[in-house]
């Protein structure tokens, strides 16, 4: 047998070491993100557990009174801040983003798209601090006060608007990708039945791209939940459940930054609270992703 193998060159004792090396290297790259996630969970968990040794979980999760100096850690006030900013931002970025995506994918001619898309993506690259000052120097004085002159300089409406603008490119760009990957044959089928462009976009393309659009919105929402600087600047630092959009609030991330900025000493309850907040945020994002996956499975029109 050995002689035959040598003659045809089909068999080899070498097991192609480079191939194996490549495989291992690629596995390590893929594994890195898993390890990082694991590391984050570990770092969060340790300090979160020690925090809950000092503070009742019930008084943390079920109370709405956040005053760390006096020992009150009712997280709902901060959760409200984060939720109202995210929802407000979604109200801005969802409709605008999907409309932009429909325009770019279905209506715009290629030359227009070539101009608009890069500009849109530049918007995503603007540092969020800039968005914060944009809220402070333009949105609040020029827009909100034009409608309601008594609006406070720090208010959650302006923060929600600028966070919405900040995540708009994410929503628009990913939704557009999803719509453009809908097969042309589906569009032609609808046009062939005498459907107008609007109907083809809204009744055929958008439903077929729904899973991508929802994923885009959820990703935008996760970014809004985690967004810190713009909100810290525009919405101030007043933990409260404020239904009035002209009032100041504080979000979970804004509080984390404030504490991490240097007030609290390592090991103090305040220091521990930012890890508890981090864990809570982590769980919220996880829940968001789970809900979106369920939603997409339920309503998706798979082509």
């Amino acid at each position: 047998m050995q002689a035959t193998a040598t003659r045809t060159g089909l068999r080899s004792q070498r097991k192609r070491p480079v191939q194996r090396l490549v495989r291992v290297a690629l596995f390590l790259c893929a594994g890195l993100s898993v390890m990082v996630t694991g590391g984050i969970i570990y770092a969060l968990a340790a300090d979160t557990i020690s925090f809950f040794k000092d503070v009742e979980p019930a008084s943390f999760f079920l109370s709405a009174d956040w005053a760390p100096q006096s020992g009150d850690f009712g997280v709902l006030e901060l959760v409200f801040g984060t939720a109202i900013i995210s929802l407000g931002a979604m109200l801005v970025a969802g409709p605008l983003g999907v409309a932009t995506a429909i325009y770019l994918s279905e209506y715009a001619n290629p030359r227009v798209r070539k101009v608009i898309k890069p500009i849109l993506e530049v918007l995503a690259g603007v540092p969020t601090v800039v968005f914060g000052y944009f809220a402070l120097n333009f949105v609040t004085p020029s827009l909100l006060r034009a409608v309601y002159p008594g609006c406070g300089i720090f208010n959650w409406a302006s923060a929600a608007i600028v966070v919405g603008l900040f995540i708009l490119p994410t929503v628009a760009s990913l939704s557009e990708d999803a719509m453009r990957s809908v097969p042309t044959s589906l569009r032609h089928g609808a046009y062939g039945l005498g459907a107008s462009k609007l109907r083809v976009s809204a009744r055929v393309v958008a439903p077929a791209a729904l899973s991508g659009i929802v994923a885009a919105i959820i990703l935008g929402m996760s970014r809004a939940v985690g967004e810190t600087m713009a909100v810290a600047i525009a919405a101030g630092a007043t933990p409260q459940i404020a239904v009035n959009p002209c009032e100041s609030i504080q979000t979970m991330t804004a509080y984390i930054v404030q504490v991490a900025g240097g007030e609290a000493s390592t090991g103090s309850i305040q220091y521990g609270s930012i890890f508890a907040l981090g864990s809570t945020l982590f769980l919220i994002t996880l829940a968001l992703n789970y809900v979106s996956i369920r939603f997409v499975k339920r309503f998706r029109e798979a082509y």
């Binding site: 001619n109 290629p110 097969p183 044959s185 589906l186 569009r187 032609h188 089928g189 609808a190 046009y191 062939g192 039945l193 005498g194 459907a195 107008s196 109907r199 009744r203 055929v204 439903p207 077929a208 029109e301 798979a302 082509y303």
Partner: protein, 282 residues
């Protein structure tokens, strides 16, 4: 009749009989030219499509037969850079006149495509789509059922009408696409190689269906399958490719011969037609 005054340049003797028998022309095509950017697709095509007949368009790849039937419902409008010259009259009206709305054209002239392309919706919603587009939503259930019956699909799907269309087989999906097109009672049905993605059994079903539909609809079918053209059609138009790199004219599709299907397949007038149907080229 208009045909007599503006006679197509390839009116074969048998067609002359048809015209004389007072067959109505649904389409009168005159010097039709279509191109994509600088690339010509078809040139100077003139023929008539007759009412309640099945007209087959055959020819080798690249002869522009798909481009040709996409001119009838202005589907080429959707392709960037496509240009259509010459005239198509639909029941006497210029299809490419300035004020003609392509959307309205497509509501009267239905189309079935090469690949079954059901929407990712339920069977019911697929058929109802065109009805909703055309605001024919009274008795929606009845209309959907009627269309599915006309497409010989009702018995197979009546118990799972709300299931996704993607669960159907390829042949069923294509019949669903036919039902979808029939639901709105179009005047003409254009079929662009409707069986090319189907197996022989599904193909037979579609062909049987076409024979039934002929009573109510004018059908134009593009096919690369000559046996199919011979089996289903009353009239056949043979397209070929003319010009090439050697003759410094870029290749373009031309109409070689248009006649009754029987004539085309038994005694074609043109040498190129004979070569093609006997398998000597293409």
């Amino acid at each position: 009749m208009n045909v007599m005054t503006q006679r197509p340049n390839v009116l074969a003797p048998d067609l002359e009989d048809l015209v004389n028998e007072h067959e109505t022309s649904v389409f009168e095509v005159r010097d039709l030219t279509a191109s994509y950017g600088a690339t010509p697709a078809i040139e100077n095509v003139s023929l008539d499509i007759f009412d309640k007949k099945i007209t087959a368009v055959i020819g080798p790849s690249g002869c522009g037969k798909s481009t040709f039937i996409r001119c009838f419902n202005r589907m080429n409008d959707l392709v960037a850079g496509a240009h259509v010259g010459g005239k198509i009259f639909y029941r006497g009206e210029d299809l490419y006149a300035e004020d003609v709305d392509a959307v309205e054209v497509r509501r009267r002239i239905g189309m079935v495509f090469q690949q079954p392309n059901p929407f990712p919706k339920s069977i019911y919603d697929n058929v109802a789509f065109g009805l909703r587009v055309n605001r024919m939503t009274d008795h929606l259930d009845d209309r959907v059922e009627k269309a599915l019956q006309d497409a010989a699909l009702w018995d197979e799907v009546k118990r799972k009408i709300k299931d996704p269309a993607s669960a159907l087989s390829g042949g069923q999906q294509q019949r669903l696409c036919i039902a979808r097109a029939l639901a709105t009672n179009p005047d003409v049905l254009l079929m662009d190689e409707p069986c090319s993605a189907l197996d022989p059994i599904a193909t037979t079903k579609i062909e049987d269906l076409m024979h039934e539909l002929k009573a109510d609809y004018t059908i134009v079918i593009v096919t690369h399958n000559m046996q199919q053209a011979a089996r289903v059609s009353d009239l056949t138009a043979f397209f070929s490719v003319e010009g090439s790199a050697e003759t410094d004219r870029s290749p373009r599709g031309v109409l070689v011969e248009y006649d009754t299907t029987e004539q085309i397949f038994t005694a074609p007038n043109d040498r190129r037609t004979e070569d093609y149907i006997t398998g000597r080229f293409g």
